[in-house]
Amino acid sequence: MLPDEVLLQLNRDFPCRESQIHQLAALYSQTLPSPSLLVAHGLTATAKSTLVRAFLARSSLPHAIVNCRECITGRHLLEHTVAACLATVEAYYDETLDKRPFARTDSLSMLAVNLGKLLDGRDKFVLVLDGVDRLREPMPTLMSALGRFGEVIPNLALVLVTTLPVRNLHHPGTPHLHFLPYSRADLLEILGQKPPPIFLTPPSAEQYSDYTPELAAEDDAWLWNRFLGAVWDSLSKHTGRDLISFRNTATRLWRPFVEPVISGQFGTRDFSRLMVNRRHLFQLEDSVLDRIMPAAPTSTNFILSKPTTAPGKPLPLTKKKTLAYDLPYYTTVLLIAAYLASYNPPRTDVTYFMKHTDKRKNRRHRTASTKTATSATAVTKTKSRKIPRHLLTPSPFPLDRLLAVFRSLVDGRVPQVADVGTQIATLTSLRLLTRVGAQGSGAGDVLEAGARWRVSFGWEYARSLGRVVDIEVGEYLVGGVD
C-alpha cells in the first residue's frame, strides 16, 4: 500500500475517485502480487489516463505507459512498447542494456519474447496500454494475445485502458476496474474546485477598499458553483455530459455571464437576477459547440444595448457573412446547379428548368395543387408526411445534367468554353463536388463522360450562394424550402 499522505494527495487531486484510487492502491503495491492483467474502463474524461499515470508516478513501481493514440499502426505499437519498456528498465535499474536483441519487434509473439527477455529475473513491471481499443490499425488478434501475456511473462502486470469493458480476452477471471461516469454532484464538485475569477482586474482599491482578495475568492466560488449548476441543468445535461465538454461550455459562458456584474449592474450575489438577465445564454446552442475560432462577442453587446426588451436570438452575423466566399460568377451558378441536380429528381427537370415555361409560376402551381389535395384528404394523408428534400442525402448526377441545369439558370448564352470544365475540375479538387462511381478516383479524365458527381455541401451554403447571384435556390428545389 502507498503511504497514506500520498493517497490523500491523490484523493485531493482527483475528487470523486476514491474507490478507483483505493482499488489501484490495493492491486499495485510494492510487496503484494498484482494481477497479470487489469482492464480499466470508463467513458471519456473519467480520469482514466491521468489517474493511472499519477498513481504509478507516485507508486515507485517500474512502469511504462504507451499512449496508443500516438501509434499509427499495430506494428508501431509493438516497437513503441518495447522501446518504452527498455527506457524504463534502464532508468529504473540505472544500467545500460545491450539493446541489439530488441532491434525488431514485428509481431505479437515477438513482443512477448522481447518483453520476457527484458524482464527476466527482474521485479514486477507495470505496462499500461492506454486506449488500446482506439488503436488505428490493430492486428486482429491483439486483444486475445494480450490476454495471454500474463501466462508467458510472470512478472509483467499489464493494464489495458479502454472505453468499454473488453469481451474477447478469453480469460474469464480478468479483473476490471470501472471508472464510473460522474454524476451531477460529482461534476459540480470537481469543477467547483477551481473557480475562475469574476474580476479579471480587481476593482479599484480606493473605491472598494474593503473588497479583499479573500472576499473576492469567496464570491467567485459562490457564483461559479451556482452558475455550474445552471449550465448543467439547462445545457450540458442534454448534450456533452462528460467533464471536458461541460467544462468547456461553462468556461465559454462564464465571461458573458458575469459581464453585468463587472459593469456594476448587479452585485456578485444577485444570482437570480443575473440568471433572468442572462437567460439567453442558456437558450442558445452556440456555447456547446466546439469552434476553432472563439465566438465573436457580438451577442453581449447586442444585449447590453437594449437590456429591457426581451433578448431575442442574437443573429450570428459573422457566420452568415463568411459562409460564401467570393467565387467567380459562373462557378457560383455551377455550384447551385450541382446542388439542384443532386437534390431534384431528374424527371422533374422539365418542369423546373425548361426555358420556355415560367419556372416560378410552375412551382407555385404545383405546390398549390398539392396543398389543396392534402387538405381535402387531410385525415388520411397527414401520416405520410415527407421529409423535405434538402434534408436527404444528395444523389449523384451525370455531367450533362449539371451543364443543362447550369445553362437554364444563367440568363443569356454561355459560350461552350473549356473554362466551364476547368471550374468543375477545380470544384472537385476543392471537394465541393465529389466524384462518385467505380472508375478509379483520381485516375483518368476528371471530366470523363459517364462519370457522376454529387455535391458535398448543404442547403445553407447553397442558399447563400444563391443570394450572391440573385437566384432564389428554394424556388427551384422540388417541394420548395422557405
Partner: protein, 669 residues
C-alpha cells in the same frame, strides 16, 4: 456494337493527293526577330517587376498578422485547455496562387524567429502515414547536422542497435527538437480542401497528443470558408484546435491592383487594347479568378505582338533608320491608320506631303517614329484621365461604384468622351461642397504619375476660404441643389412651383468661383485627353488588341469544336462530294459521302437517351448504302464510326436494354 472484337480495316486509298504547292520565295516573316524579342524582354521584365511588387504588397499585411500570430502562440502555452494554435487562412478559390502564398509566408516566418516551417500539400498526403513520413523528412532535413555528432547526443534509448523508430514516428521530431529547440514547428496545410477529412482529423488528433512535447502551430489554407472546414472536421477535433481567421486580399481586388500596375500604368510603351482587357477581366470575373492566369494572358498578349507583328520593331527604344529592313516602311504604309492619315491629308489637299510620305522612306520613317512618341504621350494622358476620373468618382462616393478597370477599358475604347457617365461626374464636381472638395483634392494629390492638374494651389485657396468661414457648415457652390428652394405660390387657384436661388454668402461666392475654375480646368483636360485611340497614327503598333489568338489560347471550346465538326464535316473537309448536299441549313445535311461518324452523329442527335443499334444500322444503311454487295464494308465503317463516337464519350454500352447503347452527351452543353 461490340460483337466483333477485332476486324481488319482497309481504308480506301484516296485517288490523288493534293499536290503541295512549292514555295517560290522566302518571305521575311521573321524580319528583325531578335530585335523584337529583345524589346519584348525589356518591356516584360519591367512588367514582371511591377507584378511581383503588387502581389507582395497585397498580402504583406496578412502575412505580418500571421507571423505575429505564430510568434505569439509560443508564449501562451500555459492554457488550461491545451489546444493547437491554428491560423485559418482564407485564400479563396484560386488554387494556383496558394502555393506562392505559402512560399512567401514561409520566408517571412522562418526569417522572423527560430521557427521551423513545413508545407504539406494534399498530393503528398494521401494518408496519415505518408503525410507523417513527409513531415518528418522535411523537418529533419532542414538542419544538416553532422552524423557523428548526432550519435553522441542521441539519447540512449535509440542508439544504433536498439529498436529503431519507424519512419512515421513523431519520435523523430522529438529527437530533432531536443537538438534544435525550435520555438515553433509550423505546419502549413496548403490546400486543406483537397485533403481527406479523415486524414486531417487523424493528423489533428495525433498532433494534439504530442503537443506537450512538440510546439506545433497549424496554418490551414482554405479555399472556401472557415465554416466549411469546421463542418468537415468532427466535433472533438475542433476542440483540439484554437485559433484565428485570416483573410487575404480578395482576388478581385488584387486583379484590380494588378490591372492598374500593368495595363493602366502611366509609362507603358505597349498598350493592351480595350477588347482584350475586357476579355481578360470578364474571364476573371466569370470563370477563373486567378492571378497567374491574368499574368499569363497579359504576357501572351505582349508575346503575340512582338513575335508576330513585324511592325512592333517601331517600339524599340531609340530606333534608327538603319535598324529597319528594306520593306518595313513599305509594310507600314499598308496599315489602316496610315491610310486614313493619307486620306485625311488628301482631304486637306496637302498633296505634296502625301507624295513625300509615299515616296521618301526616310521621311516616312521620321514621321512614324514621331507618331510613336506622340501616340505614347496621348495614350499616357488618356490613361491618366481614366485614372483621375475613377479617383474623382471614388472621392465623391458616387454610385454606382464603377471599378477603375471598367472606366479604363471604356476610355480605351473611346467611349468616355461625351458619355452621360462623364457628364454626370462633372456635374457633381461642379456642385461639390467644400468638405468633399477637400477630400477630392487630397485624393488627387496622393496619386502618383504626371497629373496635368496640380491640386495644391486649389488646396491653399480652399484652406484660406475655410479659415474665413464663420460657421462649421461646409461651403456650397451656386450649383448646389441645397441652395435652391422651391417656392409654392397659389395664383388663381393654381399651384405654382418656382425655383429660387438662395442668396449666396460672400464665402460661398468665392468658393463657387474656385470650384468653377477647378471644374473648367478638369473639363478641359478631359476633353483633350479622352481621345479615340484608334485614330492615332500607328495605333496598330501602339496598341495590341487582337481577339483571335487570345481566345483560342485562353478560352478554347473543345466540345463545341467537336460537335460542330461532326455536324458540319464539309466545312472542315472541303471536299466536292459533300458540298452540294450540305448547302443550306444545319441538320438536313445527310449524305452517304460523309464520314461514317458524322452520319451517325446526325442520327444520334435525333434519337432519345437509348439508341437501338439495329435501327441505327438500317438508317445508316439507307443513307450510306449503295448496293447489296458492299454490305460488309459498310458494316465495318459503321462499326468504326460507332467506335469513334464511343471514344469521344458520346455513347456507352447500356445494360438497360439489349442491343441498345446509351447516349451520354447532348449537343450544346
Amino acid at each position: 456494337m461490340e460483337h466483333q472484337r477485332c476486324y481488319i480495316y482497309s481504308p480506301t486509298e484516296p485517288e490523288e493527293r493534293a499536290r503541295k504547292r512549292q514555295r517560290t520565295s522566302k518571305p521575311h516573316f521573321q524580319a528583325q526577330l531578335p530585335e523584337r524579342l529583345q524589346t519584348f524582354r525589356d518591356m516584360w521584365s519591367h512588367q514582371e517587376e511591377r507584378i511581383q511588387e503588387t502581389l507582395e504588397d497585397a498580402d504583406s499585411s496578412t502575412q505580418e498578422a500571421i507571423a505575429n500570430f505564430v510568434s505569439a502562440s509560443s508564449q501562451d502555452t500555459e492554457d488550461l485547455s491545451l489546444a493547437i494554435p491554428t491560423a485559418l487562412i482564407i485564400l479563396g478559390p484560386s488554387i494556383a496562387s496558394h502555393g506562392p502564398f505559402f512560399e512567401r509566408l514561409g520566408r517571412r516566418i522562418k526569417h522572423d524567429t527560430n521557427n521551423i516551417y513545413v508545407v504539406l500539400t494534399s498530393g503528398e498526403s494521401p494518408n496519415l502515414k505518408t503525410l507523417l513520413k513527409n513531415l518528418i523528412k522535411k523537418v529533419t532535413s532542414r538542419v544538416d547536422d553532422d552524423d557523428d555528432d548526432d550519435e553522441m547526443r542521441r539519447p540512449l534509448a535509440t542508439s544504433r542497435n536498439g529498436p529503431k523508430l519507424l519512419d512515421f514516428d513523431l519520435g523523430h521530431l522529438q529527437e530533432w527538437q531536443k537538438r534544435n529547440r525550435a520555438q515553433n514547428i509550423v505546419l502549413a496545410i496548403q490546400d486543406s480542401n483537397a485533403f481527406d477529412a479523415s486524414v486531417l482529423i487523424e493528423l489533428v488528433d495525433l498532433l494534439h497528443s504530442w503537443l506537450d512535447r512538440l510546439p506545433f502551430v497549424l496554418l490551414v489554407g482554405i479555399a472556401t470558408s472557415a465554416e466549411n472546414l469546421e463542418d468537415r472536421l468532427a466535433g472533438k477535433t475542433l476542440r483540439y484546435l484554437q485559433g484565428q481567421k485570416f483573410d487575404v486580399t480578395q482576388p478581385d481586388e488584387i486583379i484590380e491592383k494588378l490591372f492598374s500596375a500593368t495595363v493602366a500604368r502611366p509609362d507603358a510603351r505597349l498598350r493592351i487594347g480595350p477588347n482584350i482587357s475586357q476579355r481578360i477581366l470578364k474571364r476573371q470575373r466569370d470563370h477563373v479568378q486567378n492571378v497567374q492566369d491574368f499574368v499569363d494572358a497579359l504576357k501572351y498578349a505582349y508575346m503575340s505582338h512582338f513575335y508576330a507583328n513585324q511592325m512592333s520593331i517601331f517600339l524599340k527604344d531609340g530606333i534608327s533608320f538603319e535598324d529597319l529592313s528594306s520593306d518595313d516602311v513599305e509594310v507600314a504604309r499598308t496599315l489602316p491608320s496610315f491610310r486614313s492619315r493619307v486620306e485625311q491629308l488628301l482631304d486637306e489637299s496637302r498633296v505634296q506631303e502625301v507624295r513625300k510620305l509615299l515616296d521618301d522612306d526616310y521621311h516616312t520613317f521620321r514621321v512614324l517614329t514621331e507618331a510613336i512618341a506622340s501616340g505614347q504621350n496621348a495614350l499616357s494622358s488618356l490613361n491618366a484621365a481614366a485614372t483621375i476620373l475613377s479617383r474623382v468618382r471614388q472621392a465623391l462616393q458616387m454610385s454606382p461604384e464603377v471599378m477603375c478597370s471598367t472606366i479604363w477599358t471604356r476610355a480605351a475604347a473611346g467611349e468616355i468622351i461625351g458619355s452621360p457617365f462623364l457628364r454626370e461626374t462633372m456635374l457633381l464636381v461642379r456642385r461639390v461642397p467644400s468638405d468633399k472638395f477637400a477630400q477630392l483634392l487630397n485624393a488627387l494629390e496622393h496619386s502618383e504619375g504626371d497629373f496635368v492638374i496640380d491640386p495644391r494651389p486649389y488646396k491653399q485657396e480652399l484652406e484660406q476660404l475655410l479659415e474665413q468661414n464663420p460657421d462649421s457648415t461646409p461651403l456650397r457652390t451656386q450649383h448646389d441643389v441645397r441652395n435652391d428652394s422651391v417656392r409654392t405660390t397659389v395664383v388663381a387657384q393654381k399651384v405654382l412651383l418656382s425655383k429660387h436661388k438662395a442668396a449666396l454668402s460672400k464665402q460661398d461666392k468665392a468658393y463657387s468661383e474656385l470650384v468653377g475654375r477647378f471644374h473648367d480646368e478638369m473639363e478641359c483636360f478631359f476633353s483633350s485627353a479622352f481621345i479615340n485611340p484608334q485614330t492615332l497614327l500607328l495605333s496598330e503598333v501602339l496598341i495590341y488588341d487582337l481577339k483571335s489568338p487570345h481566345t483560342e489560347v485562353f478560352q478554347p471550346k473543345p466540345r463545341y469544336a467537336i460537335e460542330r465538326a461532326l455536324a458540319l464535316p464539309h466545312d472542315y473537309l472541303g471536299c466536292d462530294c459533300c458540298s452540294g448536299v450540305a448547302g443550306k441549313g444545319e441538320g438536313s445535311a445527310l449524305s452517304g459521302t460523309q464520314p461514317a461518324s458524322a452520319i451517325l452523329y446526325q442520327m444520334y442527335l435525333e434519337s432519345g437517351a437509348l439508341i437501338n443499334v439495329s435501327d441505327l444500322w438500317s438508317a445508316f444503311h439507307a443513307i450510306a448504302g449503295e448496293g447489296e454487295e458492299e454490305e460488309d464494308g459498310e458494316s465495318k465503317t459503321m462499326q468504326r464510326g460507332l467506335a469513334e463516337l464511343k471514344y469521344l464519350g458520346l455513347v456507352k454500352p447500356s445494360r438497360k436494354k439489349t442491343d441498345h447503347i446509351a447516349k451520354t452527351m447532348w449537343k450544346g452543353l
